[in-house]
Symmetry: C4
Subunit: 268 residues, 4 copies
């Protein structure tokens, strides 16, 4: 339930714009009405912030559950995250079918997003990355554990999912290219906010896009710090259960990071 | 007493501007008169320099003791350090109450600053950071020791303060959010210039803001170098007591670093 | 045969422009007709991309087999890769003689390129670099192995070529400055896409320039990740044979990386 | 004698400009005539290149022996290297007295330069830096050895000089602040191109400023690579004596690095 802890700012923004279309009933294969532009702006910003913070490179993707329809999610077409603009955002159903592709190419691994939203109703934002400092923890037997206060959300454990163990088509090709693989990953995630994909990258799930970005960035930083601490040698004084619980309930000052990161990412 | 060794340049600048208000007696809850703009400029520059040098990220903060009133200190509102401007600087009493908040949000951990100023009259500048190379030394049993001549100020030892051992409210949430926690930290600092906060970051205290910046930067660099030296293996030839003492009394050429860093930080 | 797996985009671009000269028979020492400018643009972009990605520095070079004549290759004059423009591209025969030097200085180690094209008809692009994270694997006994899905092309093994073992003139001076040394290197490469040059750097060979860039970048990243994983300690869960084979046949989304990298490299 | 191997370009530029003053006899305390501006330009460029390459930070300095008078050397006033311009260059005798200071502050450790020029007539350029990857080799017992072909000049061994062992005033303060300390360092250098100053940094000496820059940069890179190779574990296949000797006599392609670095450093 860690991922339910968030800053709440986006939650407020995720209100349906009370326009002409927004009160209309949505058929499954019809796009929802107009979205608050601030929602899309935060989604675009999230893509770029994660590049600036060294979490994403030319790959990786960020989605949000559609605030107008919990059975839909929003995800950029297949494009390097730093290039993503509002026009690249596409809408998908939870089986990861695009609603109105307009000729745009979908991300191969969009099933990560759809299946997590299907299995975990409380999740409202998902990130998949090749966050570099994190990958080694997925291929060794060293568990990722929080070494500092910004990463206490890792306390519950970081599951490592090995795609080879999923009884699904195309598992050997390593990409989550179908619903079967996505379901297996979503089940392995359980109620943790972060899951490692062995030999590939990781997935972050959270209650809003700002919190997902926060988790993704501090997972990367924690991986760097834990690697250095292990290199120094000797026992490591990890974050305790009591601290993780207390931090989850304490006031957050994440707004200052988000203000900076968004300003830098959007160039204004 | 290491932190009393400084470049003295700021000390000269910390003179009260002889304006209309400056000679008036200050009541505890009244802001002081006009400050020399150069004092504020150096404080703003310190925030930005520490970002450029990799000591601060979106978090961390820098304060100075108010040159007009030793029972006050000056600290930016809660804002990413690289965005701080003169207008963000707020005034606090030593119990860390804002004098004239004007609706601005205070830094949650301002009690670090207030309690250090209260306990250590010789301290005129305080920095709190999540300086990344330093954090691992706070969670291992490897003592931070100086490996090169720019970090001889670490010779006296770098205490590690574990907030869990403070008998105070909210200790488990890991942030120094009240005076009780700040007092505990300030006591642990003793007369050293640097203290590690286990699983969190560090604190630097010095006789002026330039010296505090110098200590914060070279503590980060020393941590990187010590980590590499440990990785190479075998005994390490650390700085000796005699060298630390001699360096503290020797002429400094820090002015050349400050000139560069300030120029780069302020973009001119 | 790993290097035959490519994105195919360049293959299409490598068509001879149907201009006045292009249909003329080419004598061995006559330059071919006009090239599709897109071919040269990709070659120039490859040079700059590899600098931006940390694979090349002031040294290293990228060539393509001439699409108009398989017995020729195209390579910049001796120049730092980030400065290379279309005017710097020279044409060579497979003995690495320049066709029309126009006073330009040739790269000392061009024999790497010529001899690989001679020995391996399926190779259409070659990169030589001092890719920094890779060099240590050439001087230790630790084999480079793929730790993540972007580097499955390394699965077949990464040969280490030690120039001292080549029975050729000037071997001790460490540079591949003649055909004899180039032939020895090309033979050691076999049908692998990457070869390490002990105490020097590496060579990448692929079926097109985009794939060569992809291999060079992910070889560097894999080296960083493998180094960190080894530092964490314990057994490493490397990519399996089955995964390497499946990835080689799976659809690729490299176009998104190429779009980004080229845009950034060419500044538009 | 390794440092006599250079690109010779600067050697040609170090000709006295045949102006009105240049043929006049120079008294010891009179500045020489006009210098070829290209000489000064290369010296300024060297300062900035070394910052861009991560060898210098706010500290460190570069000098050349005065081409007009072998008993003089040219060195910037005390200033961060990236800020150095032609106007900052001062002239010194070999006892490190400034000839015409014009109120400018001299570098505290200029005696490094003066005493090396005095003891080693073949040296024409000297660099002192806190090159970060190199410092750990000065405080451990791990000898710095060349792991790749760009650093073969290190083959003869890299002496480690500990200032505490010099029987001179102010040795404990760690800076080379007088001739006695400079003489001790210059004697320890012997005929090697690089010397480590334990707990401080290193010194590079060469036959011209371009070669000195080359040595300083590749010493830093070699230190990074050797550190990584040691971290991988097992025996390291270092550069051999035969290779070092052959490389010293082989043609160099350093002109391509210098062209790039100077262009980037001078912004044109």
């Amino acid at each position: 339930m860690k991922r339910l802890v968030g800053c709440g700012v986006v939650a407020a923004a995720l209100m349906i714009v009370a326009g002409a279309h927004s009160s209309a009933a949505q058929s499954p294969q019809t796009s929802g009405g107009a979205l608050d532009p601030a929602v899309i702006e935060d989604l675009v910003a999230a893509n770029r912030i994660l590049v600036a913070q060294g979490v994403l490179d030319a790959y990786g993707h960020v989605s949000i559950r559609d605030p107008r329809n919990p059975n839909r999610y929003l995800l950029s077409r297949s494009r390097a995250p730093v290039l993503v603009t509002a026009d690249d955002i596409m809408e998908y159903d939870l089986d990861s079918n695009p609603i109105d592709p307009k000729g745009r190419t979908s991300v191969l691994e969009r099933f990560i997003h759809g299946e997590i939203y299907k299995a975990h109703p409380e999740v409202k934002a998902v990130i998949h990355s090749h966050s570099p400092a994190v990958i080694p923890f997925g291929v060794t037997q060293v568990p990722m554990r929080p070494v500092y206060h910004q990463a206490t959300f890792l306390y519950g454990g970081v599951p490592v999912w090995d795609i080879r163990n999923a009884d699904c088509p195309d598992a050997a090709a390593m990409l989550v290219r179908n619903g079967c693989l996505g379901k297996s990953l979503a089940a392995a995630l359980g109620d943790q906010p972060v899951l490692l994909m062995r030999g590939h990258g990781n997935v972050v799930a959270a209650a809003d896009v700002q919190t997902a970005v926060k988790y993704a960035v501090f997972t990367e930083v924690n991986a760097r710090l834990q690697t250095i601490a292990i290199g120094l040698g000797g026992p490591i004084n990890y974050i305790s259960a009591e601290e993780a619980a207390a931090r989850a309930k304490a006031p957050s000052d994440f707004a200052r990071a988000w203000e900076l990161w968004k300003k830098e990412a959007l160039g204004r």
